[in-house]
Amino acid sequence: MKTTDNLGQFEQLVLLALLRLQDNAYGMAIRREIAERTGRDVSIGAVYATLDRLAEKKYISSLDAPGGAERGGKAKRFFKIEGTGKIALRQSQEQLQKMAYGLPQLEAM
């Protein structure tokens, strides 16, 4: 299997949020998804910094759409996970699972 860059924990969370949100994956929805599921109160700036990093690595792509009145007409950017992003995410998850497998300290938790 082709080896990709290692993903950080927050990068993995963002990619998982993209997979969950599908066509409605934009900055604030991603922030909300992470906050609701993990309890982490992350800033929108941190989400975008990570999204920019993932876009640089070509793991995700984005598309700007015109914003509505509730956004003061400001554009809305939708994100989509690419094939390389899915591979990188799967590899990172597998690595984590392999490291955690069989550890009694974790099983007892």
């Binding site: 934009y26 800033s43 929108i44 975008y48 914003g67 509730e70 003061g72 400001k74 809305k76």
Partner: protein, 186 residues
């Protein structure tokens, strides 16, 4: 909705009886305008009696039984325009405008990458207007400011990290240059 409709019709018959014949002839259509912030206090309704005449009624939101204002007017605008006018009036009356804090937004434009500024400001404006409906304006404003502050801190951290990487790369290049300059005849 049916209850509110009969309430408006009763109000119309009671206070503006000269239009009753229009009602009896089956004319009229009910416009139900639920404006975002008025919803806290009032439900705004207008009954179009004829293409030219409407009766507007403001109802107490909690009971929805007692009209607090009614009046007859001339239809010169569309429902969308009326809704917009009500929203503008609401923003003027509200001590805390639905518009996101301007100074905080300016800081975003100052510190964040140009490519992301507009979308981040849009995302924050969207969430801010949602929070305004759910909690007190001061709390929503605090949330907005906290998001801006944290986002700027993140951006500074990212910039510093990149700078550190750049310095490290420059130092590495410098070492390579010193180690290999004999080969270049320096």
């Amino acid at each position: 909705m049916r209850g509110i409709r009969s309430l408006v019709l009763n109000e119309l018959r009671k206070r503006h009886s000269r239009y009753e014949h229009l009602l009896n002839n089956g004319h009229g259509a009910l416009m139900y305008l639920k404006a975002a912030r008025e919803a806290a206090a009032m439900v705004v309704m207008a009954f179009i009696v004829s293409p030219e005449v409407f009766v507007g009624v403001l109802l107490n939101k909690t009971t929805r039984k007692k009209p607090v204002f009614s009046g007859v007017g001339q239809v010169t605008i569309t429902a969308e325009q009326l809704s917009q006018i009500l929203a503008e009036a609401r923003d003027r009356q509200s001590p805390m405008s639905a518009e996101s804090p301007k100074i905080a937004e300016s800081l975003l434009y100052l510190f964040l990458p140009t490519s992301d500024c507009e979308v981040i400001a849009g995302d924050l404006a969207e969430e801010y207007s949602l929070r305004l409906r759910e909690c007190r304006p001061a709390k929503a404003k605090r949330w907005y400011w906290r998001q801006v502050f944290k986002s700027i801190c993140t951006q500074i951290w990212v910039a510093l990290k990149r700078l550190t990487e750049l310095v490290a790369a420059t130092e590495a290049l410098e070492k390579i240059w010193h180690m290999t300059r004999g080969l270049w005849g320096g």
